[in-house]
């Protein structure tokens, strides 16, 4: 296959050393993370708004800015999820204009992880891997299992043994090899990192991480295009490792560099659950040193990363753009899920509750101006974490099957309440 003239190298984020485009993820010199580097002059000559708009509605319409050599072979339909104007929710949160980037309906597994996985697996094929794997507690596992199945790749999904049944089923159904590991979170992490280097597998979030992580940029590209080729004043992003926030920041900078959007002032803000908020706490302490959280305690499992790999870089993205961070309690998370559902008609998983509740606090504290415009990144569907809201969103009212009971128990009291 002819290599792309656009994706040039891997590059160390610390020292800037260049590396070949292989399945490697750490700089040999200083152990800094590697990320994809591009020839922006060549991209600028090829990629225009008109070219992008003429392409199919998927994340691959920005393919020059993604780290693969040929055409994508996995996840051709992923992305281009709706950007919804949420006027009623804006009113409740106290802001002039609010948009929801709705990745709860991303294809095929209802989370933003389909973006990163389709890049990682397309690259895995280019590099000749026949087995792909990931270590995950939910959304990533589902996405690797589904996309590998569709692509005909053998896959292994490594999970902590005590994971919720729903998440295990959501991977097993695709015929992937699900391996439950007994042990504390740290021990599971260590085993996975050993496995990743040993058997020549394409481990999407280890040796394919530089490719995988770049997929997140497409969320930012889409936001700009869907807003009419402009960068939003404020973007509120949930943080686990912090990678999504840094990549959305990168996407805005790339669009500015390519002249696809104007260089207007923008801020990226991060949100976490208070039970595991190492990045938010560092921002609040005014430092870029992220203190690990040994035992995360929150219902927001998908953000419960105690040692966030990109925490340092996320802090710098927020600082550079005048953004800030906020963390919210589990009660506020549930309230956030309810607000998003009741005022925008979108059912999000717990990470979505973190974003909405965090945005509410950032607006109330003035970090996001009440007269400004903001985009909230909602990353996964609520059907995946239903247990978090069971018993907290009311119950159906039960009546006998006759009109009299309906009128007495439902219609009349509701009409009386409405008249108040």
């Amino acid at each position: 296959m002819e290599p792309t003239p656009f994706f040039s190298n891997l590059k160390c984020r610390e020292c800037g050393r260049l590396y070949p485009k292989q399945a490697i993820h750490v700089c040999d010199f200083d152990f800094g993370p590697l990320e994809a580097a591009y020839d922006y002059a060549a991209i600028g000559r090829s990629l225009t708004k008109k070219t992008i708009e003429s392409r199919p509605h998927s994340m691959w319409r920005y393919r020059e800015l993604l780290p693969i050599d040929g055409e994508p072979t996995v996840g051709a339909q992923v992305g281009f999820t709706p950007l919804v104007k949420a006027d009623r929710l804006a009113k409740v949160l106290g802001i002039r204009e609010l948009w929801i980037k709705n990745d709860t309906v991303n294809y095929p597994t209802l989370s933003f992880k389909d973006r990163v996985v389709s890049v990682a697996l397309s690259r895995a094929r280019e590099l000749g891997f026949e087995v792909v794997a990931c270590a995950s507690t939910g959304n990533l596992a589902n996405s690797v299992a589904a996309n590998a199945a569709a692509a005909g790749l053998k896959s292994y999904v490594l999970i902590p043994a005590d994971l919720e049944q729903g998440k295990i089923l959501g991977s097993l159904v695709y015929g992937t090899q699900v391996i439950g590991i007994n042990g504390a979170y740290d021990q599971v992490n260590r085993l996975c990192s050993e496995i990743a280097g040993k058997y020549g597998w394409g481990f999407v979030n280890v040796n394919l991480r530089p490719y995988y992580a770049e997929g997140s940029k497409t969320m930012g590209f889409e936001i700009c295009e869907q807003l009419g080729w402009r960068i939003p004043q404020h973007t509120v992003i949930p943080m686990a490792s912090g990678s999504l926030l840094t990549k959305i920041h990168k996407s805005y900078k790339e669009f500015i560099q390519l002249g696809l959007v104007e260089d207007t002032k923008f801020s990226v803000h991060g949100t976490q659950a208070t039970g595991c908020a190492p990045i938010s706490h560092a921002i609040k302490r005014g430092t870029d040193i992220v203190k690990p959280v040994p035992k995360p305690e929150t219902i927001v499992k998908s953000l419960a990363i105690g040692t966030p790999a990109d925490g340092y870089y996320a802090i710098h993205s927020m600082k550079q753009t005048g953004g800030s961070a906020e963390d919210v309690s589990d009660e506020e998370v549930v309230e956030g899920i309810r607000l998003l559902a009741e005022y925008a008609g979108i059912f999000a998983e717990t990470a979505g509750g973190v974003t909405v509740a965090g945005a509410k606090k950032l607006i109330a504290s003035g970090h996001i101006g009440a007269n400004d415009s903001a985009v909230l990144c909602i990353t996964g569907h609520g059907l995946k974490t239903q247990e978090a809201i069971v018993g907290k969103v009311g119950a159906p009212r039960i009546i006998a099957p006759n009109i009299r009971e309906f009128e007495e128990k439902i219609y009349a009291p509701d009409a009386a309440a409405a008249a108040l």
Partner: protein
Amino acid sequence: MATQHTRFWLNFPPQLITRPLLWELCRAFPVVTNIRQASITDEVGIVSLSMEGESEDITKAVAWLEAQGVRVDPVEMNTIAS
């Protein structure tokens, strides 16, 4: 036994920053260490370290560091994602 080459991030709490732990480690275990990057403040010491030796010795050396209160993560930390 095969020699292994492993890469770690070490996280030193403030009370251990002044103790020459890596010197102690090399005297106690037959492993070769090499610091690649370090950042030390009043709050924390962060060191990226490569360690070479027999697999069993590396395991013991890591356990010893952890017993002293150092957090030891493989450079692939956060292998598990959501």
